[in-house]
Symmetry: C2
Subunit: 440 residues, 2 copies
């Protein structure tokens, strides 16, 4: 049943992709390239690029940071590179990062076969939807057991995207997914190490490999996904196959709900940042007008991103107090480069940060924050933001362009133009952005 | 604890490898090359060789069947190729195939670094022991959940072997294993498809990749193997970490118990074949002297290899009846080429086969068979064999050479000489066997 639905989805005509999902897929392509360019000099990116460069294979697909490699190798490098800063998009229904697992696979195959940029976006949309649906089937029992959906469900999405671009027929796609069942892997216990971005590369590379082998005729189980001792039963203690397609893809692509990070810090702080930014913009708040900040968030964040007096730039990313101070003081939270160790010691921020108190409220979701800003004149202003609420399309586009400028400078505008106009372009032009982007 | 023991094992000096294990490792090297050469034209071998050949990377390591590829790619190809016929060695304590997962990794790294053949055998012995010990820790709950030890525990063994040959220090080896925790994969539901030999290639390739990345500095969890949400807890419902090193490696290497297949048919039939071969040789039994064959085996084999009237050569591999007839009639069971469809229809065999009856005996292990050969003169001769009993070293050597001749012809003798004398040789000479073996 699950396999049939996934195969139906994989075979969906491009014009059946809902416009809102297609639009999100295109925005994610822009954001994915920005994240990859911003991450290209991170150690994990250099190490993986170094490994495949030493292998010196056929230059089939571009690498973030320069050079080219065979499809499997390029997918590995580009997945890890674009997830190096952990600044890429997130889908909260199954909790995974669609772009870093699937775009590397789609782009590599499309470059190697000289396909259009449009086909890359379509293959991503279908592949991402497949990974989200499979992620729902795997359920919370997958994540709780310790598996990392970006790596696991992501590999199947990458296989769907790659297989689609290779023109696999239904039986070929079945075998690609069946092989992916034995190839996909990835654990959450890698979080906090370079193993986390590596997981994204693993997903992309596995997807490409399984699609290539299926195309070449490798056989696989009838149903490696949900059949006996298939991927779902072996990798989840509480799978929910019915949930996966409860909302038919003909009605809606869940991909449309994907969220883009706009601040280079822990996702648990973003709702607060958005809420305070709106309030400060509307009310013209200045730092010296603030007497106290009382924040409420989902209780689980208290052990994650409530460091009261961070000592390093990295710790600031997990500090409601200093991040609130940054927003009120008008500091940039979009650029990874903002988060220096000096920032943590800035007296203007630390005195403001000391005014924040945070409490857990079980009534709030992980995406929701609210609070009260107490002013020295005695006024108490409420603030709140729910990341689950869709951002207006134009606002999202503007925000992503702002993030891109913060990360890759002026090249952001040319990239935006290219990606938004890419109906007519080819995948290799996109590939050129990976190797050369932001170098001018 | 498990991680510490594995790291201790990985760092063991070569002269601490017990002689019986070192001898088995060398015999397994010979047998592994024979299996790879015999399997080099199987479809799964051609498909994987085709994929990496198209990638046309640096010729770092030899491929079974010709050509060379980067270490990761060569390991993938050679693992799958050598497991294509399912004729390679088996370790029954954890139930996995050590050689096909670990020798491809060890040889590829040693070729790339131009190391000695002796170092390949030593790295295999240590890596195989690590995979067997980890396999014991994963326990029956790993296999029963659906994971394929050859692929999973095998990847860690391959990482140990590869890392050792790369000269990783203790922290490097820890990271290699920590990365392998997120990279290793493989399901039993692939059995009966090309996904099964693919699993062996996955293991070898994953091991090499993780060792390369660890050497290049990729970070990993403190204990990715048995730490929180590490590989063992996420991949087994009933792990038994204490069992893994209950017998210290300083006392014995479990690798010494590895079993080599000597007949090109289901492992469940081998005990019967050995028992009947001994009896027929001792008593000079001829087919027309046989009135009935009454066989007892472990009950689980009745649904696996008790096809009474096989219709194809493949089905003969799962038929006690025809296999018993082959032994009594003096037919070769060592060569895969014996098992033709004509064989299944041979009247001399089918009339003999009709005289066999088989019953399940819960008192017998999977490795044990016994029975009664009833002769036309009224005599009843008992036969029995337990594969668990170690074969005398010379007998095993002779048997493996016989198997090799059946599979690769006269080249077997030259290969034997090379492998047995390989203390002085280099890994690249072994690699030459993969590409050119048996072509003369």
């Amino acid at each position: 049943m699950l396999l049939v639905r996934l195969l139906d989805l994989a075979a969906l005509p491009a014009d059946a992709i809902p416009p809102d999902a297609a639009r999100m897929a295109r925005l994610s392509l822009f954001d994915w390239i920005v994240c990859g360019l911003a991450g290209r000099d991170e150690p994990v990116a250099r190490i993986l690029r170094g490994m495949v460069t030493q292998e010196s294979g056929a230059p089939q697909a571009s690498l973030f940071g320069g050079g080219a490699a065979p499809m499997r190798a390029a997918s590995l490098v580009n997945g890890a590179t674009s997830h190096a800063l952990d600044y890429d998009d997130t889908h909260f229904a199954h909790v995974g990062h669609p772009s870093v697992a699937i775009y590397p696979a789609a782009l590599a195959v499309a470059e190697a076969r000289n396909l259009s940029a449009k086909s890359v976006i379509e293959a991503f949309a279908i592949g991402a939807e497949a990974s989200i649906r499979l992620g729902l089937a795997l359920g919370a029992g997958h994540y709780e057991r310790g598996f990392h959906q970006t790596a696991t469900a992501g590999a199947f999405g990458a296989a769907v995207a790659a297989g689609r671009l290779m023109g696999l027929d239904r039986d070929g796609m079945r075998r690609a997914l069946g092989l992916c069942a034995t190839r996909a892997s990835g654990l959450k216990s890698q979080f906090g190490t370079m193993g986390k971005p590596y997981n994204a590369g693993i997903a992309a590379s596995n997807g490409v490999e399984c699609a290539l082998l299926a195309q070449a005729g490798l056989s696989a189980p009838d149903d490696g996904v949900a059949g006996p001792q298939g991927f779902v039963p072996t990798h989840s203690d509480g799978s929910d196959i019915a949930a996966a397609f409860a909302l038919p893809v003909s009605e809606r692509f869940l991909l449309a709900d994907v969220k883009h990070k706009l601040h280079a810090c822990c996702h648990g702080t973003h709702a607060m940042i958005e809420a305070l930014r709106s309030l400060c913009a509307e009310e013209g708040i200045t730092p010296d007008a603030v007497a106290a900040i009382r924040l409420s968030t989902a209780p689980r964040w208290l052990s994650v991103c409530a460091i009261p007096r961070p000592r390093t730039g990295l710790e600031v990313k997990f500090s409601y107090a200093v991040l609130a101070a940054m927003v009120i003081a008008g500091r940039d939270t979009a650029s990874d480069r903002s988060f220096t160790d000096d920032l943590a010691a800035d007296p203007a921020l630390t005195s403001l940060a000391a005014k924040l108190s945070v409490t857990g409220d079980p009534g709030l979701t992980d995406l929701h924050a609210r609070g009260v800003l107490c002013l020295t004149d005695g006024r108490e202003l409420l603030f709140a933001h729910d990341l689950a609420a869709p951002k207006a399309p134009d606002a999202l586009a503007t925000a992503l362009q702002g993030k891109a400028r913060a990360l890759i400078g002026a090249a952001a505008d040319a990239l935006w133009t290219d990606v938004m106009a890419s109906d007519g372009g080819c995948a290799r032009e996109l590939g050129h952005w990976l190797t050369e982007g932001g170098r001018k």
